[in-house]
Amino acid sequence: MAGTIAIRITSSGSAAVKSAAASEPAWLRRTLIGITLLFLGLFLILPVVAVFGEALQNGAKAYFASFTDPDFLSSIRLTLFTAAIVVPLNTLFGLAAAWAVARFEFKGKSLLVTLIDLPFAVSPVIAGLVFVLLFGLDGYFGPWLLKHGIHIVFAWPGIVLVTIFVSFPFVARVLIPLMQNQGQEEELAALSLGASGWQTFWRITLPNIKWALLYGVILCNARAMGEFGGVNVVSGQIPGLTNTMPLQVEEYWDDYKFVPAFTLASLLVGLALVTLALKEFLEWRTRVQIERSEKLAQDVVERIAA
């Protein structure tokens, strides 16, 4: 959904204004800030603190003891394995889609862009369900797959498919508006100077979009590693075999093993916090890049005018 991934290019907060008539009385200002602190503190800060607090409730030794559980480690391996397949594929797709959409005019373009967004509108549980309907025992291809001994549902290929589905739009959604905005003049110039298509892509396009591309990749990765509802449906939750990190958190939780559950969860909180920090950094980089190119354009205009 648009709100989830639009790069915030405007800086959050214009410099303070202004006369007393156009500002709020101090008591109201304090009340509004108070509500903000209370609401965000309760719903954003406290959950993060709670995960680490619960994970460390029996001390650091118990925290690190969880790392020796084979199921704990295998869930980390499966999550990394899944992300290692999903993120490159969706990045490749994002680049291809952005190139086709932002560089060419063709019929049905807006329909294509809408369809790329579709997975954001689908509940993760339904994303899992559709693959069970296709490849499950009672699904369309189930009997055929069974006959040929191919396992998709209740095995890693199903987990990978669902994860591709749910993290599908991120890279494309970041790149398409950016590349549309940048226009194709630089690429046309490179081609007319004799560069090949690949040279143009590597030397012109990629440097121009690198920060936004990284931004999309990071969001895609966070979504891929954190997926729960969809993989929950297709994984069959076999400990040590088809449990990703979020699924293993649930496994521990259901077994009342709260320390390992929160220890594993704390790693995912760490991932989320790193993602947010990188996101801030990349938004800042993108903003700087855009401001610089705008200033450059303005200088040119002024020089021509003079």
Partner: protein, 280 residues
């Protein structure tokens, strides 16, 4: 072949990128989703109705839509306050809070679920155990479902309203004040109309997201059929009982509902843009 429907361009690579895009999209998204509707369409209308009108399903739909609506509504009240404070005021921790507003997007939903349960569980919860003696059960109740959805849809309104507020020209406020408007009048008549479209969009996005939410709810709700079981949890439970037709029918209802909400957002966006252009 591609040339038939596309404008000529000297840039290379249309065939391969367009081909890969549509192939990948079809294989991963379109065909699997179509499978869901084909499965549902294979049933008779009466058959579909009997699957989605069971007492359990109706209770799940009511809770899902009701709690999603309530959560989106509360966020539509609190979201602008948060956005306003972050954009207009300077206070310690502002930058950190601004960065962390997106946490519900970045945090795996299962982690949100266990974290919220750790806070709100009536027996051992950090806050829940103090609320339980007062008769307020914040987990394993419908209130718990609401809390989880409030968390998961928190960023939508804030992040749609924030840029609208940041882009808002302070001179319009000054002008209103100079013309004798009170601060309240200025907020109501000048600022509010400017952020109104963002507010509606944020509400609808949050609502649509909440409809399909699973991970953050499943831990805190207790999943008691007829009482605290949401529709996505019911889908999983039907699947676990190998009742694929029921799961598909309930999923189709949920999917159509979220598509309808998102379609409404697009139509609304198109309408406001046209409307504003006419005014300008």
């Amino acid at each position: 072949m591609a040339i038939a429907f596309k404008k000529r361009s000297v840039l290379p690579g249309f065939g391969i990128t367009f081909g890969f895009t549509t192939l990948y999209l079809s294989l991963i998204v379109l065909i699997p989703l179509a499978g869901l509707f084909v499965r549902t369409a294979g049933l008779t209308p009466a058959g579909i109705w009997s699957l989605i009108s069971t007492r359990e399903a109706v209770a799940a739909f009511k809770l899902t839509f009701g709690a999603s609506f309530a959560a989106a509504l509360v966020n539509t009240v609190l979201g602008p306050i948060v956005a306003w404070s972050l954009v207009r005021y300077r206070f310690p921790g502002r930058k950190l809070l601004d960065a962390i507003v997106d946490l519900p997007f970045a945090l795996p939903t299962a982690v949100s679920g266990v974290a919220l349960t750790a806070i709100f569980s009536p027996q051992t919860g950090w806050i829940g155990k103090y609320l339980a003696p007062l008769g307020i059960k914040t987990a394993y109740s419908q209130l718990g479902v609401f809390i989880a959805l409030l968390f998961i849809s928190l960023p939508f309104v804030v992040r749609t309203v924030q840029p609208a507020l940041a882009d808002f020209d302070p001179e319009a406020e000054e002008a209103a004040a100079n013309l004798g408007a009170s601060r309240w009048q200025t907020i109501r008549r000048v600022i509010f109309p400017a952020i109104m479209p963002a507010l509606v969009t944020g509400f609808a996005l949050g609502f649509a997201r909440s409809l399909g939410e699973y991970g953050s709810v499943v831990f805190i709700s207790g999943n008691i059929p007829y009482r605290t079981e949401i529709a996505p949890v019911l889908i999983v439970s039907e699947l676990n009982q190998f009742d694929l037709d029921s799961a598909a029918a309930i999923a189709a209802v949920l999917l159509v509902a979220s598509f309808a909400v998102l379609l409404a957002i697009n139509v609304f966006g198109w309408w406001t843009q046209r409307h504003l252009r006419v005014e300008a």
